[in-house]
Amino acid sequence: MDTNGNLYTFIYASVLVIVVAAALSFTALKLQPIQNMNVKNEKMQNILASVHIESTAKTANNVFEKYITKSFVVNSKGEEIKGKAAFDINLKQEYKKDTEQRELPLYEATLEDGTIKLIIPLTGKGLWGPIWGYVALESDMNTLYGAVFDHKGETPGLGADINKDWFQKPFTGKTIFEDGKLIGIRVHKGGKGAALAANDTEHGVDAISGGTITSKALEAMIFDCISSYKTYLENNKK
């Protein structure tokens, strides 16, 4: 058979493309429910990690229901919006809207010792793609109880380290307000001990050396996202 004829080439290309397309859509459709489940479990694990509760993909659902006692949605004026499921809100879409229109999700975790922590979800842009995270606040709505961050594709060994424990741990105990003014968390360039050297132990943490752009993006993400919740935080501090 002449495999170089025009007709043969056309038919060959069409059949190949259709077969491959069918195989790919079949795989994607078949696997989608499991993939969505993974994404959902990971979100729960992240939320729990911000209040220092470990969970695995298998236990995430149960642990989440045990500790996360309340999830609700507020607007930029700090008023609760009824009838919305906080967990299903697409944060990225909300931040594209005007400040007044945003529906902002919040979670409350009740820990073993009975204290209640407020968890704020964050989303932002890193160097190569999206970064996101959760910060948990003490009931004074000022002191960080914990923080987790993750990213889609930051540089391995540099910016990608924002999801590592050593980077996240120093956030605990830092405060986000100074004399009633929101300043967020400052990320200091210069590697280990940079925040100490800059004399900023109240609001500052060390940036990742070599990962400055990601670190700065993270700083901006924390400030921008918490700003949206500012009124709520001011109204609810104890």
Binding site: N4, T9, A13, S209
Partner: protein, 207 residues
């Protein structure tokens, strides 16, 4: 296994190594060797994709119109990579997060196109499979050696576990920032080529 089939596996490890002798796949050798773990994940993915792409192209080799053979090869590679990615996303979510950045890199990896074009198009499925495994292994060895040194001197750790003790840092030891940057991957690959050539005489050109 005859010597001929064995050579398909062993040649790419040394005498015909895709990275150090053919200088293919350098791009991903720069990108994924900052840490050992992604380097190993990348190696395994390339092994899987290259072995199966070789077999598929070899099975189709007599039917592929030669004018569109490159496109056919690309479609096969891309489809395999996407399927691997989807399956990992469903059943091994953690690994898939590691891999996500490198999926595009596998598709554009010169070794894949090189082997499909040079070997699978003209050989039977079984030798093609061995050729794929051999070349992926040759690629992996270099990747893992480079990543080992870059992570050790660049981050002071191996597989994410700190190796260089804190007391060294207290005495003023500093991680080498250059190790993390792409140029250092090239320098390490060059050192490997140097060592390999001084050990293997037949690689040295006569002129």
């Amino acid at each position: 296994m005859s010597t001929k089939t064995l050579k398909l596996l062993s040649d790419p490890l040394n005498l015909n190594n895709p990275i150090t002798v053919q200088v293919l796949g350098i791009c991903s050798a720069l990108a994924v060797t900052v840490k050992l773990e992604p380097a190993v994940v990348m190696s395994l993915s390339v092994l899987f994709v290259l072995a199966f792409a070789n077999v598929i192209i070899s099975l189709l080799r007599n039917t592929i119109p030669s004018r569109i053979r490159i496109i056919v090869q690309l479609v096969v590679i891309a489809a395999l990579v996407i399927i691997v990615d989807q399956v990992l996303k469903a059943y091994s979510y953690e690994v898939s997060k590691q891999l996500s950045v490198f999926v595009g890199l596998i598709i554009t990896n010169c070794i894949l196109m090189g082997r499909l074009e040079a070997f699978a198009l003209g050989n039977k499925p079984w030798p093609s499979f061995l050729d794929g495994v051999g070349n992926a292994a040759g690629y992996s060895i270099i990747l893992i050696i480079v990543a080992f040194f870059r992570e050790l001197f660049g981050s002071g750790s191996i597989w994410g576990i700190q190796i260089i003790p804190d007391s060294f840092y207290d005495f003023g030891y500093v991680n080498n920032g250059l190790m993390i940057l792409p140029p250092m991957a090239l320098i390490i690959v060059a050192i490997i080529i140097w060592v390999q050539r001084s050990k293997t005489r037949e690689l040295i050109e006569t002129n």
